[in-house]
Each structure stands twice: as structure tokens, then as C-alpha cells.
């Protein structure tokens, strides 16, 4: 670096003139540049480049592994989602026409009442609508008359969890989407009651669904659905009797109720294994039960 060639000097001169410097300024700058060029600049030894390469290689391995892991996780999630949606589509036939119609009518009725000016938070019917939808949905989605969610094990021995999720996606997806679509005119009209309405039916719907699933791990699905809906109705009626129309629990508590429902659903799916499912009669073999029930 300390030896500056004539060609480099010429290049510097050209560069300085390109900047519009006068001959005097060029003459004053060139010695400075020569002085800078004369200063020593380290050159990496071969060993230093190798050390640098080793360090970089470790970082590259780590980066590549992270990228591969991230790509793997995304791929797994995508394939899981695809599988659930595919199973959900196949499970549509499980739901009878009465489920689609009844759910739609119940939801439409609620919206009409709100449209007529009824305050959802002060009306008994709205506290019973959500769990009623859950009752209808669970009875339709899990139709094994004696086995509770064991029916899933029999219908899909390889992955009962996926089947449960698929049916819940269909059932809850339909009811939530219907509810939100029917609510759209109220949202657009700026109704203040709509948030209260949504939380009034959605939170109990999720809680009742979750509880029904949990209970159906031990009793048959019709019994579980009836038990949960009856318990909910009794609770609401008791609250109504004690506090009158002012039984609104407020949106924060509604959110907690909804979260509780989702936790119950998640817990049931996690517990869904042959060991967690109660046979209708202890000691009875699955094959025998299957033959008798279906």
C-alpha cells in the first residue's frame, strides 16, 4: 500500500477534477492522499482467513438449521391444517339437515329480536340460545348413542383427535359464521347492542361445547349434552330468579367464560385417547360394543 503507482496518481487527479477542484486544490490534495496511501493497512494472514471461515461456517450451519427447522414447522402446520380441513369436509355428511336449519333459525331469531330493540344482556332467551346451539351441535356432531366420544375411536382408529377437531371446526365454524353474518347488518347500522349480543351467545356456546366434550369422555354424548344444557338452564333461571333481568355478567366475564370453553375443548382433545374413553360396560371389548351399537 505504501507504493503508489503513477496510474493511481492519474486516477486520483481525474477524480479530483471530476469534483470540480482547481489545479491548486488538486495539487494540495494529492500529497494528502499519498500520505494516507503510505500508511500501513493490515493484510489478513492465511490463518486468519481460515479462523474467520471457521467462525462463519458455524454461524452458517446454525442459520441453515434454523431455516430448515422453521420450514419444517411451517410444512407440518400446513399439512395438519390441510388434513383437518379435508377431514372436516368429509365430516359434513355426519351433520343432519336439521342441524343446519335449526342452528340457522335459532341464530336468525336472535338477530331479529335484537333488531326489534331487545337488549341481549337483559333478556333471558339470549343466555339460553348459545348453549342450545351447543346442545344441537354436539348431538349432531357426535352421534354415537352409547359410546360418547368413543365413537371417534371406532370410526377413526388412527386419529380420533383429528376427527374431533374436524367436527368441531364444522359445528362451531358454521354457528359462529352464521351468527357473525347475521350480525353484519346490525354492525353496519352501528347498533350498540351487537357486541353484547355476540358475547351473550358466543361465550356460553363455547363453554357448553367444551363442558359437553369433557363430560362425554365419561358418559354418552346425548346424556352429556342434555346434562350440560340442563345445568346451564337451571343456573341461568336461578340467576334470573335471584337478580331479575339484571343478570348481565359483562363482556370481561363473557370473555373468561369463552376462554374456559376453549380450554375445556383443548383439554378434551388432549385427553382423547383410548385409555381416557370409558367403555359402556367395563371389561367389554371394543369389537363387541361396536357390533351391538352400530
Amino acid at each position: 500500500m505504501s507504493h503508489t503507482h503513477g496510474s493511481e496518481l492519474a486516477r486520483w487527479e481525474d477524480s479530483l477534477r471530476e469534483l470540480g477542484e482547481t489545479e491548486g486544490e488538486v495539487a494540495g490534495t494529492l500529497p494528502i492522499l499519498l500520505s494516507i496511501a503510505a500508511q500501513s493497512v493490515p493484510l489478513p494472514a492465511r490463518g486468519e482467513t481460515e479462523v474467520l471461515l471457521t467462525n462463519l461456517q458455524k454461524a452458517l450451519d446454525s442459520t441453515t438449521n434454523q431455516a430448515v427447522r422453521a420450514a419444517g414447522i411451517i410444512s407440518i402446520l400446513a399439512s395438519e391444517l390441510k388434513a383437518v380441513l379435508s377431514v372436516a369436509r368429509a365430516q359434513l355428511m355426519v351433520f343432519p339437515a336439521a342441524f343446519w336449519v335449526a342452528s340457522g333459525i335459532v341464530m336468525l331469531g336472535g338477530m331479529l329480536l335484537v333488531g326489534m330493540g331487545l337488549d341481549p344482556s337483559r333478556s333471558l332467551v339470549f343466555y339460553l340460545v348459545g348453549p342450545l346451539l351447543a346442545y344441537l351441535g354436539m348431538r349432531s356432531a357426535f352421534q354415537g348413542t352409547s359410546f360418547g366420544v368413543l365413537e371417534l375411536e371406532l370410526a377413526c382408529p388412527t386419529n380420533p383427535r383429528q376427527l374431533t377437531v374436524a367436527r368441531l371446526v364444522v359445528m362451531l365454524g358454521y354457528q359462529v359464521l352464521t351468527g357473525l353474518l347475521l350480525s353484519a347488518p346490525l354492525w353496519l347500522s352501528g347498533s350498540q347492542a351487537i357486541l353484547s349480543l355476540t358475547s351473550t351467545w358466543l361465550a356460553p356456546l363455547l363453554l357448553a361445547s367444551g363442558l359437553t366434550l369433557v363430560v362425554s369422555l365419561r358418559v354418552s354424548m346425548p346424556r352429556a349434552a342434555t346434562l350440560v344444557y340442563a345445568a346451564w338452564t337451571v343456573t341461568v333461571l336461578a340467576a334470573w330468579r335471584l337478580r331479575g333481568p339484571d343478570i348481565s355478567v359483562g363482556i370481561p366475564l363473557d370473555a373468561a367464560v369463552a376462554a374456559g370453553g376453549l380450554i375445556f375443548i383443548a383439554a378434551t382433545i388432549a385427553l382423547l385417547s383410548p385409555n381416557a374413553i370409558r367403555f359402556p360396560h367395563p371389561g367389554e371389548r371394543v369389537a363387541d360394543s361396536t357390533l351391538r351399537t352400530f
Binding site: 477524480s15 486544490e25 503510505a38 500508511q39 493497512v41 493490515p42 482467513t49 442459520t63 441453515t64
Partner: protein
């Protein structure tokens, strides 16, 4: 670089071997002669290059590499609260070519030290433009891409940078004579 981003780890070696020395020289001058710091910044530059996934094939590689290096040097001084003018005497002494030996007069050594001090006193943006233009043979367009500024601003920085160097050395000379 495209091969490296595509996962071809063998592409790392030629990339590093091609740019290591020049990058070290650039950063060494940018940080005022602190070799250890320059080496750390070289490694950080290559690490940043490996880990980022935003390199566009259409973008010239060298200005992009030097943009990373320049930004890291600037960030280092910002984080440490130091600026070029704060570079110590030891680092300035290191900038004087040890190979010069006894044949170089004391006056030349002193001149080199004062030039190095004047360079260190320049702002980061002027120093980067000057080093890239005169000691890395970069075109005005490449410097503009490296520093993320218009070509007109590059010319302005070069012009102001060289003028400040002249003025500082002239002041030092007059101060020395007085």
C-alpha cells in the same frame, strides 16, 4: 451470494477469500487504525451477510457488502459514544507504516500522523466516501449505492471531505510553525 442464499455452503469460502483483505483495509481506515476492532467488524459484516435473507440478485454485491460494513462501523461508534476524532494516539501510531524504517525522515512520520489525525477528525460519512473513492476505486454510483445517498451528495461529500483535510493540515502546519 445467490448460491450462499440458496444453501450452498461451499460458496462461502470464495466469497470470504475475495473480500476479506479489502474489507479489513476499509474498516481499518474507518476505525482509525484499531486492527482488533476492524477484524471484529469484518466478522460481524460477514455474519450479517450470512444471516440476512433480503439480498436481491439485481443489486450489485460489493456496494451492498460495504454498506453493511460502513453501517456497522457507524453503529459501533454511536453505541460506544466515540467518534473518529476520539481515536487514540496508539491507533494513530499504528497507522504509520512500520516498514518505513530509518530511511523515512521524522518529518514524513509526523506528516503521516497528522494526516491520519485529520482523517480521524472527519465525520463518518465523509471518511467513508473518501476511502471508498480513492482507496477502493469505487465509482461515484457504487458509493451512492453503498451509502444510500444520491450521486450529487457523494460528490459533495468528497469535495467537502478533501477541503476539510486540506484546511486541517494547513491549520496544523500554521500552528506548528507558530
Amino acid at each position: 451470494m445467490e448460491a450462499l442464499m440458496a444453501g450452498d455452503q461451499a460458496a462461502l469460502r470464495p466469497l470470504v477469500e475475495r473480500h476479506h483483505a479489502n474489507l479489513l483495509g476499509f474498516l481499518y481506515r474507518m476505525v482509525g487504525g484499531d486492527r482488533r476492532l476492524a477484524e471484529d467488524l469484518v466478522q460481524d459484516t460477514f455474519l450479517r451477510l450470512i444471516r440476512q435473507r433480503t439480498y436481491a440478485e439485481s443489486r450489485p454485491f460489493k456496494p451492498w457488502l460495504y454498506a453493511i460494513a460502513s453501517n456497522l462501523a457507524r453503529d459501533h461508534f454511536r453505541a460506544s459514544g466515540r467518534h473518529g476524532e476520539m481515536i487514540g494516539e496508539d491507533a494513530l501510531a499504528d497507522l504509520v507504516d512500520p516498514r518505513s524504517g530509518p530511511e523515512v525522515t521524522a518529518l514524513e512520520r509526523d506528516t503521516n500522523r497528522r494526516v491520519a489525525a485529520a482523517m480521524a477528525a472527519l465525520g463518518h460519512e465523509y471518511r467513508a466516501a473518501l476511502i471508498l473513492r480513492f482507496f477502493h476505486d469505487m465509482s461515484l454510483e457504487s458509493i451512492a449505492q453503498t451509502l444510500g445517498i444520491p450521486i450529487g451528495t457523494v460528490k459533495s461529500r468528497l469535495s467537502v471531505g478533501t477541503r476539510r483535510l486540506r484546511e486541517q493540515l494547513a491549520n496544523a502546519d500554521s500552528g506548528g510553525e507558530g
